[in-house]
Amino acid sequence: MNHIYLDHAATTPMDSQVVEAMNPVMTNIFGNPSSVHSFGRKARQYLDDSRRVMAGSINADEKEIVFTSGGTEADNLAMIGTALANQAKGNHIITTVQEHHAALHTAENLEKQGFEVTYLPVNDKGCVNVDDLTASLRDDTILVSIMYVNNETGVMQPIEAIGDSLKDHQAYFHTDAVQAFGLLEIDVKQLGIDLLTVSSHKINGPKGIGFLYVSNAVKIEALQFGGEQERKRRPGTENVAAAVGFKKAVELAVRNKAERSELYAAYKNQFLNRLSENGINYEINGVPEQTISTIVNLSFPGTNVEALLTNFDLSGISASSGSACTAGSVEPSHVLSAMYGKDSDRTTNSVRFSFGLFNTEENVMEAADRVAHIVERLTK
């Protein structure tokens, strides 16, 4: 049985060009970029090159890029780092109920530390309403953190309008762009973004690296202490090989953005059409027109997500749903609960499929047939 990967929103395979770019670095470049000798300088060159590409990809300055271990750390640094550094200006933070746990649990932690947090609702389209945001803004609001594209539904949030609405307000605007970067055109200056989270392994780069864009205008505190790396905002010896792989992944993403979006959207449509041809009854969670090309979240009435996912996996289809609890069982999705209510069947019968590098038209069709077969069996 061939295994078909439809979970690119969880992580992606590395592009072969990324591996090729990393191999010589892992083999030959071992210096510490902070060392002031030839080995260190060589490593530092690779790191600087990478940083330049990161900055260019979002129209930022090199000094505004902080390498982190990934998206989770970048979200933590963005939110806690600015909250702590700007307490003199206020105590209020705004985010949404549908954030990734990396942001949501960070906000909850800030509440425990005494910050006041407003969680904006989302509508049944999976979208946050800008009017809700402006209504919640206060003089003492210091940070607004709203994800760019929701990781479960793929619904794009009105980032430009949010940036606009914050133009004349002291609050910083942070967005977790982990699911958007590499597919959407992101210009932080034009969009009024102050902090932006990106992760390497979601765009066919290596795991264990990401970056946080921190606008020069932002006052931020470090969350860990040590050396001078990343201008003291994120001390610790850098992972140069990963940074080089990340750089290659970003270059490829920037270059191929349009084609990729088109290709993955085609996969998505082929997948959905094939399900329909097979007579499968499904509903799309979130409004399709506002959904990113790679992700589709489907509700299969009359089924149960645990039976679906287990059956899918046993027939070689890798997909996912919400998040697993620490004891392995599938928790009802907080995103779908926010959109449709806690008691909606959609919270217990929905699966996310996400397309990407692993896929071909052929394996997408094959996957749709297997999915259809299973759904048919379970709803008989």
Binding site: A307, T310, N311, L314, C325, T326, A327, G328, R377, L378
Partner: protein, 368 residues
């Protein structure tokens, strides 16, 4: 017949040594083994950690050692509705329930079995110490060969149709052999302690746990002759034949719980392990399940508690579906709510719930 490699067996894995070895043995026999962890209870410990996490973690580690896929399934809702509600209702009725019997009946061999079948499984396997025998198309359940571990008592509500789809890979082994197999294969659960007590209570204080769900109503403790002997903390905390925790001092033989009056909220106590009031000669059982059809009246052996030796009985079916069980010899501390399980040699015939305790052809009202 399907080859083993084409036969999918879902193994219910708890994170304990028994189900680990069950999975290992099936894997060695070449089956298409799938490990599934059931989460039936939502609880967090004092550090906010989900108590099922450690067990699931062990399931993951063992499955990775065996190179089999693993999944989890959540039956919290079903468990609450079918097992825990029954558990509380029985305590509220002054009886001593057996949640493990109910869990096997409603969850493991119903909801979980259905789930396994929905995954295309041919069989469901568990680490229970029991055996299934196909006797020319009639599926029977036999005791596990380890007398000390035999778990058919808890499986008495299974029927032949279910047993046809069930495997007990440990039934022909002794516990010590199971441990040894686990050690030989270096399974991470090889020396993990066996779980004790009721699964959802775990190591916690039983009284404390129960008091979170049911209000305790303290009352008086009396002898059946009406002599007051002190106070009890709530009838639900006591079971027939219990000695501990009565707090009656003085000279003479120790005191035991002999009965309960739920209406008047009185706990009856009597002196001496062999107090006559603790003895009975028959019982009436309800919720009776026969694994395969039996005669209207027959003799066999029975257990009234787990790990008790069998006793000779005569079983007679009654019009209402209940059975009357007459004991060959009088029995001590027969407890309403517990299971009575019937055997013909090593074959488990089925069982029921003890409803009424009988002596000299009349109901012992004081037992409750």
């Amino acid at each position: 017949m399907k080859s083993n490699s084409d036969t999918r067996v879902v193994v219910g894995m708890s994170g304990g040594v028994d189900s680990s070895v069950a999975a290992l043995l099936l894997k060695e026999q070449g089956y298409d083994v799938v490990g599934i962890f059931m989460k039936n209870w939502d609880d967090t410990d004092e550090n906010g950690v989900c108590t099922a996490t450690e067990d699931y973690d062990d399931v993951v580690r063992v499955c990775n050692q065996l190179d089999i896929p693993y999944f989890a399934v959540n039956f919290e809702k079903q468990y609450w509705e079918k097992v825990f509600t029954y558990f509380l209702d029985e305590y509220q009725a002054g009886r001593t329930p057996n949640p493990d019997v109910m869990c096997n009946k409603e969850i493991k061999f119903k909801a979980f079995l259905d789930h396994a079948m929905s995954l295309g499984a041919d069989y469901l396997a568990t680490g229970h110490y029991a055996q299934v025998r196909n006797n020319d198309g009639t599926f029977e359940m036999l005791r596990g060969i380890d007398d000390n571990k035999d778990q058919t008592y808890f499986l008495n509500q299974l029927n032949a149709e279910v047993l046809e789809k069930v495997m007990f890979p440990l039934g022909h082994l002794n516990k010590s052999e199971v441990r040894q197999i686990a050690q030989e294969h270096d399974l991470v659960t090889a020396s993990k302690k066996d779980s004790t007590g009721i699964c959802f209570i775990g190591e916690r204080n039983f009284k404390e746990f129960l008091s979170e769900y049911l209000p305790a109503q303290p009352g008086t403790m009396k002898t059946l002759d009406g002599v007051e002997k002190g106070r009890h903390e709530g009838l639900m905390y006591y079971t027939i034949g219990q000695r501990q925790g009565l707090g009656i001092g003085g000279s003479g033989e120790p005191w035991f719980v002999v009965g309960k009056d739920l209406k008047a909220n009185i706990l009856y106590v009597g002196q001496g392990f062999h107090n006559d009031k603790l003895y009975s000669d028959g019982l009436i059982a309800s919720e009776v399940n026969w694994i395969n059809p039996v005669a209207e009246s027959f003799t066999c052996t029975a257990k009234f508690r787990y790990r008790q030796k069998d006793s000779g009985v005569t079983v007679t079916k009654m019009d209402d579906g209940n059975v009357y069980v007459a004991f060959d010899e009088t029995q001590r501390a027969i407890t309403p709510g517990q299971a009575v399980v019937f055997y013909d040699g090593d074959v488990c015939l089925g069982g029921g719930t003890i409803d009424e305790v009988i002596k000299n052809e009349s109901r012992l009202d004081y037992v409750g």
